[in-house]
C-alpha cells in the first residue's frame, strides 16, 4: 500500500483528488491499482507493452524509479509515488537533434530560415528536406530567374541551372538575376553570382550546356524536381520527355504578352504531350522576343513555379497535377482547367511510340540552338 500524488493535469481524471491511496507491493501493482480506480489513467501511464510511457516520469520519495528497481521497486505504506507528465519542447525534437551534426540545422540556418521553420508545414524537418533537395532549373531567364531566386533564398541545397545564353540589354526589363553590369556575361555566371550573394549556402551546379537529347538523360535523373523556364518548343518537348522517362516531376510555366500558364507534370498524370501532342508550325506562336512580354508576369508565374517546387519537396498541399492555371494579367483573372492523361499520348499513353529522346529541333521544325562560347 502507498500514496500516489496526482499532479494538476491528471486531476481531471481523478475527480480532483490530489492523493490516492493504492494497493500493491511494488510500483507496478500500485500503478495498476490506480488504473483500476481510474481506468482512463492506464493509457496515460503505460504503453502497449505495459511499460511506462516515454513522456511520463514516475518518482517514489523523490527518486526516479529507474534509479531504483524500476516497476519492481518495492513500496510500503509511508511511500509517496508521483506520476509526472514531461514538460518539454524546444526548437527541435530529440530525433532531429540526434540525427547527427551533419543533418542538424546550424543556428545561422535556423535563424535565416526561421520564417519558414516556424510554420508547422515546414518545421526543421521540412527545412532539412529543402536543404537536401536537388532541383534543376531549365533556363536562367524570365521564369528561371524568380524560380532559382526563391529556391536559393529558401535554402534549397542544390540548384542546377541549364542556360547557354549571354545577358543582353533587352533581358534586363524582366530577368532579375542579371544587372546592367552583367551585359555580355554568360547568364549562368551572372545567375551564379547573384544567387551566391543572396544565399552562400546554396550550391549552384552547372550541367553541360545546353540541355540536349544526348545529355538530358545523364543530367535529369540527378535531380528530385525539374522546373521548366525554357523559351522554345524544342526544349519544352525535350524536358517533358526526359522527365517522364526519368520518372521526375516537372513544374512547368509559360509566359507571353500579359498571359501566363502554370501546371505540374507528374509521371502517370497528364504530360505536356497529352496537352500538346504536336508542336505548332514554326512561326505560328510568336516568342517573347517577337511579341513581347510583361516583365512582372515572369515574377507571378516564376514565384508560383517555385511554390509548386516547395510543395513537391515538402509533400504538402495540392499540387498543380492534372490542373492548368491560366493567368490573364490584363483582367487579373485566374482560370483553372482540368487536365487528364491522354491514353493515346505518344509518350505516356497506353501504347507509347516515344520511348527514348528524339531530335527535337527536327520535330519542332526549329533551327538548332546556337551555342555561344562561354569563357
Amino acid at each position: 500500500m502507498a500514496t500516489i500524488y496526482i499532479p494538476t493535469f491528471f486531476r481531471q481524471i481523478t475527480e480532483g483528488n490530489e492523493y490516492i491511496l493504492v494497493e500493491g507491493s511494488n510500483i507496478l501493482e500500485s500503478l495498476e491499482s490506480l488504473s483500476y480506480l481510474y481506468p482512463e489513467m492506464h493509457d496515460l501511464i503505460f504503453d502497449s507493452n505495459e511499460q511506462i510511457l516515454r513522456h511520463v516520469n514516475v518518482y517514489i520519495n523523490n527518486h526516479e524509479i529507474h534509479e531504483l528497481e524500476g516497476l519492481d521497486t518495492l513500496v510500503n505504506t509511508e511511500d509517496q509515488i508521483a506520476v509526472i507528465p514531461a514538460l518539454a519542447g524546444g526548437a527541435m525534437t530529440l530525433s532531429e537533434e540526434n540525427n547527427g551534426n551533419q543533418s542538424a540545422l546550424k543556428p545561422e540556418e535556423v535563424m535565416r530560415y526561421s520564417r519558414h521553420i516556424i510554420m508547422p508545414q515546414v518545421g526543421p524537418q521540412g527545412q532539412r528536406k529543402l536543404r537536401d533537395a536537388k532541383v534543376l532549373v531549365v533556363g536562367a531567364g524570365g521564369l528561371g530567374g524568380p524560380v532559382a531566386l526563391y529556391l536559393a533564398l529558401a535554402g534549397v541545397g542544390t540548384i542546377g541551372i541549364t542556360e547557354f545564353d549571354v545577358v543582353d540589354l533587352s533581358n534586363l526589363q524582366r530577368q532579375i538575376l542579371h544587372q546592367t553590369a552583367d551585359i555580355d556575361k554568360p547568364k549562368l555566371k551572372s545567375a551564379k553570382e547573384t544567387l551566391g550573394l543572396y544565399n552562400p549556402h546554396v550550391e549552384i551546379i552547372e550541367p553541360p550546356m545546353p540541355l540536349t537529347s544526348d545529355n538530358a538523360m545523364d543530367i535529369i535523373p540527378n535531380y528530385d524536381v525539374v522546373v521548366n523556364g525554357a523559351d522554345n518548343f524544342a526544349t519544352r518537348y525535350l524536358v517533358n520527355d526526359a522527365c517522364y522517362l526519368a520518372g521526375k516531376t516537372l513544374v512547368d510555366g509559360a509566359i507571353l504578352l500579359f498571359d501566363g500558364q502554370l501546371t505540374v507534370y507528374k509521371p502517370g498524370y497528364c504530360c505536356y504531350r497529352c496537352l500538346y501532342p504536336d508542336p505548332p508550325p514554326p512561326g505560328m506562336v510568336p516568342s517573347c522576343a517577337e511579341a513581347g512580354v510583361l516583365g512582372a508576369i515572369t515574377g507571378i508565374i516564376g514565384s508560383m513555379q517555385a511554390t509548386e517546387v516547395f510543395k513537391q519537396i515538402l509533400d504538402i498541399g495540392e499540387p498543380m497535377v492534372n490542373r492548368l492555371l491560366l493567368v490573364d494579367a490584363l483582367t487579373m483573372q485566374f482560370r483553372e482547367m482540368k487536365l487528364r492523361r491522354d491514353p493515346a499520348c505518344p509518350l505516356c499513353g497506353d501504347n507509347p511510340t516515344v520511348k527514348e529522346l528524339i531530335d527535337y529541333d527536327a520535330f519542332c521544325g526549329s533551327p538548332p540552338i546556337e551555342v555561344l562560347a562561354l569563357n
Partner: protein
C-alpha cells in the same frame, strides 16, 4: 493580455542568457491573475534545441504552489537561434500525450512564454496554446504597477 512586470521579464531573459548555449526553461507562479515569481527549472535535455523540465523540480514547485494558494501562470523557455514563437515541437508537447491535439492542452490557462536570443535585444512573447494546436499570441503588458 498578461501583465508581466518588467522585472520578471528581465529575470527570464537573464536565465536564457545564463544557460547559453542551451535552451533555458522554467515556470512563473502567480496568484489572482498576477505573476509573482520566476522559477528556474533545470533543463535535463541540456541542448541548444530542446528542453525537458526536471520532473522532480516540477513536482516540488507544484506542491509549493498548492501550499501557497498559487497557480502556474506561465511556462517559459528560450530559443537560442530562432524567433520567440512556439515551434512545432513546443505545440506538440503542450498536449498529453504529445501531439494529441484533439485533447485540451495540459495547461489550457497557462501562458507559454518564449524568450528568443536570436536578436539583440532578446525578444519575449507570450502565447496561449489551445485545443487543436491553435496558437494565439497574447500581447504582454510589461508596465509596472
Amino acid at each position: 493580455m498578461p501583465r508581466i512586470p518588467k522585472k520578471l521579464i528581465d529575470e527570464m531573459i537573464a536565465h536564457a542568457v545564463d544557460d547559453l548555449p542551451n535552451e533555458a526553461c522554467g515556470q512563473v507562479n502567480g496568484k489572482n491573475n498576477k505573476p509573482l515569481t520566476v522559477n528556474r527549472v533545470k533543463n535535463i535535455a541540456a541542448s541548444p534545441f530542446r528542453y525537458s523540465m526536471d520532473p522532480l523540480s516540477m513536482l516540488k514547485l507544484e506542491q509549493a504552489r498548492e501550499e501557497a494558494g498559487e497557480y502556474l501562470f506561465a511556462i517559459y523557455h528560450s530559443h537560442v537561434a530562432s524567433e520567440a514563437y512556439p515551434s512545432a515541437t513546443d505545440i506538440r508537447q503542450a498536449f498529453f500525450p504529445p501531439g494529441e491535439f484533439d485533447h485540451e492542452p495540459m495547461f489550457p490557462e497557462c501562458f507559454y512564454i518564449l524568450v528568443s536570443l536570436a536578436q539583440d535585444p532578446p525578444e519575449v512573447r507570450a502565447f496561449k496554446i489551445s485545443q487543436g494546436g491553435l496558437v494565439e499570441e497574447e500581447l504582454i503588458n510589461s508596465e509596472d504597477d
